[in-house]
């Protein structure tokens, strides 16, 4: 009988500016050495769905953590209220995100079971932030699930603090997996093409998969955007990608 157990809990970690921020972690309990995964939540926030994803990675054998990126705007708030507060105040500044994600990576590497390798995965706005993490941080793999504004300019009068990252593609430090819906507008298929060309131009290691009959947020099981075929294939791609780049010692 295979022992199947994970420990999942809320922890406080040090993020940008050494602030203490809330995070949710799940870790296998078998004591083996393993890589870490930073889950970057979608724009609707640090919600039940994001925590389920963290537990999924622990079941797959990774030490996983998701930082509540809205900890400062809305500590202890309901996730939808926190997301509304963050939206009204202009979203998460990139510099603060990078500091918080760096804190999560440090926390994972300090675990006694850490192999030293860490990957990131983000959904929706977190997809763009996963790309950003691979520009700024020492990570060994990054997964961008339908992140908008890696390429493409936000609309005029746009209140959120988001700028495209395409001009920094040459700085990408980790292999990138991209998963996109062909019916998505943010990012659009044309924008995904543009990003792919940039990755090719700069000789980066990447793997893109695009799904017909899928738009934005096709992994979101509780929303009408859920697409079972895309989600099932997507999870398999993520598992294979992390196995290829995160398994073994650093």
């Amino acid at each position: 009988m295979r022992y199947d157990a994970v420990l999942a809990e809320t922890v406080g970690i040090r993020g940008a500016n050494d602030d203490e921020i809330e995070a949710y972690t799940a870790r296998p309990m078998d004591g083996g050495r393993r890589a870490g995964v930073v889950v970057i939540h979608h724009m609707p926030g640090y919600d039940r769905e994001s925590k389920e994803v963290v537990r999924r990675f622990a079941v797959w054998g990774y030490n996983a953590i998701c930082v509540n990126l809205y900890s400062r705007e809305a500590p202890d708030a309901d996730p939808d209220d926190a997301a509304a507060a963050a939206r009204a105040s202009g979203g998460v500044p990139d510099e603060r995100f990078v500091g918080d994600a760096a804190g999560a990576v440090r926390w994972l590497r300090a675990l006694p079971t850490a192999s030293g390798k860490v990957g990131t995965i983000g959904f929706c706005s977190g997809g763009r932030q996963a790309f950003l993490s691979a520009l700024e941080l020492d990570v060994q793999a990054a997964v961008d699930c339908y992140g908008a504004f890696v390429v493409g300019t936000p609309p005029e009068g746009f209140p959120l603090q988001v700028q495209p990252l395409a001009d920094r593609t040459a700085e990408l430090r980790a292999p990138l997996l991209g998963l996109f819906g062909n019916e998505d507008s943010y990012p659009s298929p044309d924008q995904v093409d543009e990003l792919e060309k940039l990755l090719q131009t700069h000789g980066k290691t990447y793997e893109f998969h695009r799904y017909d009959d899928a738009g934005h947020a096709f992994f979101s099981v509780d929303r009408p955007s859920y697409r079972v075929a895309a989600a099932l294939d997507g999870w398999q791609r993520v598992q294979a990608f992390f196995a290829a780049h995160l398994d073994g010692e650093a």
């Binding site: 609707p44 809305a74 509304a84 609309p155 988001v162 955007s225």
Partner: protein, 85 residues
């Protein structure tokens, strides 16, 4: 939730009722994006907020596009009538 497009207005001399009762409103954000609860991929969402009272000081609605159009027309009619009071 990635159309990101958001209109934000200041709200004055107005109140809303949230889980903790009535509170003064300060801002409203209006956006077309994925809902948390409504059964559609995108809805017109309005958050009436008072940041001074914390994130829970919020009155939120998620409207289908048809319902949002109806609301817009009703507001138009009501505001025009109010000018004659």
């Amino acid at each position: 939730m990635c159309t990101y497009s958001t209109e934000k207005i200041a709200v004055t001399a107005s109140s809303g009722k949230g889980p903790q009762g009535w509170f003064p409103l300060r801002t409203a954000t209006v956006y077309y994006d994925h809902p948390v609860h409504a059964p559609d991929e995108h809805t017109v969402n309005i958050d009436f907020l008072n940041p001074e009272e914390g994130p829970a000081a919020r009155v939120a609605v998620e409207l289908s596009l048809d319902s949002a159009r109806e609301l817009l027309a009703a507001l138009q009619v009501t505001v025009e009538r109010a000018q004659h009071h």
